[in-house]
Symmetry: C2
């Protein structure tokens, strides 16, 4: 037998074992900031954590106790890879509250948060080198998934009303002309994370038709749809084209992210392979967590809970608008979301918000640098503020600190 | 704009969107049988479900209630992608109970069951067309993961004492000589699922040295290690070579599979990419589930619970041995596991156990056909029996029904 290699040479040998995709897997910048946000002296306008203090915790605790005590051998056991039938049926009601009434329970699969539905979609549809379309900026977790599957993320032009339909059609055409294999459009039509922008109602039919005509699937990620504080709801893409849209929902923002329960509603003809892809990753979603959510939906006024969340977050958003109005120096623009958790700031081009974050830590305020949300990272002079997780006074203080910092930056820039 | 395609032509177009790997994703045969096992008139010797009735359900219910009521905003919130620090520290104690005392908390990541650790390992180390080594038979979930990553699973010769070291060395050499890229050995050294076979203590050092010398990583999957009913524990591969072994543990068999919490202990130099691969799939493991397990480990005599599980399962295993001895016709061999959940039967070659399962349903007994556990599916005349999930009388009845069926099959075969 050969002499076993030393630790040092073993480490070098192991480098050769990595897959090609492993090179593309990187830590989310949101996570970097997550560590920072544990410092209580800093005002964090970074995290998109829902405000769970307003949940009926006593009731949820009682529910969990009852389920484990009375149905423990079911709740703590393996379950179906699809998820429990009760929750899948209830999810139809949740989707109906967003105007989606054309889904069969047979087309719903429960996932480990909607992050895992994105992973499944890439697994089923994307080979290395394939292209997916997305907004710029878009959800950092989706960009991480695309990188992990060695998929190229191509940005589609957006404005204050979301994706520009003509630009979408042109982008698909030019990518195809260049030989790219375009698989799907990943979009967050309502209160995009991080931009806060909503795809205008009158553009939705166009977006759906363009994708359908081009043979490009749509992945509609809609965790914030029910958290609307002004204006009129627009129809979901799923309701406009049930055959070409995979809809991803989540309990993370309307109930609890720590339970890690989301779902996908998949066109019937795509369903089987989609759910098997998930089963190979995690066997089944956690049974107890599904049963807790089922009991909560069954026994609690969950729509009333969402309404009270809307009041809470609307007040915080308005506090952030007021603080931005009051403190922010001229030359900085920001979005005016009608719902969701986030406002997106665009600074003059000379400012790098990664560096700004370091200075923000000194100044006692943190946020997420915009480049994290951008395929190819060009948006270095942008940043995301979250208004969901802290109260109005803290929001005021945080925006004040940020604004002072920005004033100094702008002065330096103008000298 | 082009005329949007009809539903029919859309479905045809969507076929072209699937990834190459999607073709390799298939439903686990274990899951097929899972549906069957819900029929109460059948005796199921199929499922590897732990017997949760003997857990302290009242105490677990109280724990969950207390955590949600008192710490709900933490328990229901996003957590670290690594898992909670408390549970990661406790996992060091759990591993110490199996003789593993050389792991740093910084090298432990909590996963959605150990299924998801297998997914992470493939993601990080395997490109399509790479080869991994495994036992034959081996865990069906691992085979599904290998297929999903378009990885070739190459069987290593085993006997009643597990992997044959000389055969392992030769297999690596011949695969390399044929130009194959061999990345890791996936092995269940203790009470293999499905065979029940344990890698003999005296072979372990050899297996570890062969892999290290060849630059082949080891994935040690050890969900059953503490469920030993006879004989002496053998050292884990991880404790024999901390630098070349990724160890996968799970709470599924010693506490609850429905919580979906497992872990991986990864050599330090491989850790970062390994855990980032998992984060891209599901962001973080469910926080509540981790906190419930932490409280259980902190407040309950979990080692005593495992001891009482060992007594329960030992009695069921012995009941299955007795029934096999009493009823089984001549010409059928079976393994004699010292722990775990499964016994593996080898029938005369003319019998196809997929077909036998259909007849078993008629006869009122179900099991898992062996081909499900075999890379390339050649083991069609084998089957897996589980003794973990049902009581002694039911085991007796199930083996009796199966034996009658086999008697008839053997008669037909001999005519």
């Amino acid at each position: 037998m050969a002499v076993p290699p030393s630790a040092q040479s073993l480490i070098a040998e192991h480098e050769a074992l990595y897959s090609q995709r492993a090179a593309g897997i990187k830590q989310s910048a949101v996570r970097d900031v997550f560590e920072l946000s544990l410092d209580a002296s800093l005002v964090s306008l970074a995290g998109g954590n829902p405000y769970l203090q307003s949940l009926p915790l006593k009731k949820l605790g009682d529910i969990a106790q009852r389920i484990i005590t009375e149905q423990g051998p079911v709740a703590l056991q393996y379950g179906s890879g699809l998820g429990t039938e009760e929750l899948r049926l209830q999810i139809l009601e949740v989707m109906a509250a967003e105007g989606i009434d054309n889904v069969s329970v047979d087309d719903v699969v429960i996932t480990n948060g909607s992050q895992s539905a994105q992973d499944m979609a890439c697994k089923v549809f994307c080979d290395p080198g394939d292209t997916v379309l997305c907004e710029d900026p878009t959800y950092v977790g989706a960009l991480n998934t695309f990188e992990a599957y060695q998929v190229k993320a191509a940005a589609v032009l957006t404005d204050a009303q979301g994706i520009v339909p003509e630009a979408l059609a042109e982008r698909i055409q030019s990518l195809r002309a260049a030989g790219e294999r375009v698989k799907f459009l990943y979009t967050i039509p309502n209160f995009n994370n991080p931009s806060g922008i909503t795809l205008a109602a009158h553009r939705r039919q166009q977006v759906v038709e363009i994708c359908r005509a081009a043979g490009v699937l749509i992945l509609e990620d809609n965790p914030y749809g029910m958290l609307r504080y002004d204006g009129e709801p627009a129809p979901t893409l799923r309701s406009l084209d049930p055959e070409n849209v995979i809809y991803m929902g989540s309990f993370s923002k309307i109930l609890s992210p720590g339970l890690r329960i989301g779902w996908a509603a998949v066109p019937s003809h795509l369903f089987r392979r989609f759910y098997l892809a998930g089963e190979a990753v995690a066997l089944c979603p956690p049974t107890l967590n599904q049963m807790i959510i089922s009991a909560y939906l069954r026994e609690h006024d969950w729509k009333g809970q969402i309404e009270s969340y809307c009041q809470l977050y609307a007040s915080r958003r308005d506090a952030m608008f007021a603080a931005l109005e009051k403190y922010l120096p001229a030359g900085i623009s920001y979005t005016r979301p009608e719902g969701g958790f986030f406002i997106w700031l665009t600074l003059p081009e000379g400012i790098d918000t990664y560096q700004l974050l370091q200075e923000g830590v000194q100044a006692g305020v943190i946020f997420i640098p915009g480049a994290a949300f951008s395929p190819g990272n060009p948006l270095s002079h942008t940043l995301r503020l979250a208004f969901c997780a802290v109260d109005e006074d803290t929001i005021d203080e945080g925006v004040k600190r940020l604004s002072k910092l920005l004033e100094r930056k702008l002065e330096v820039l103008s000298n």
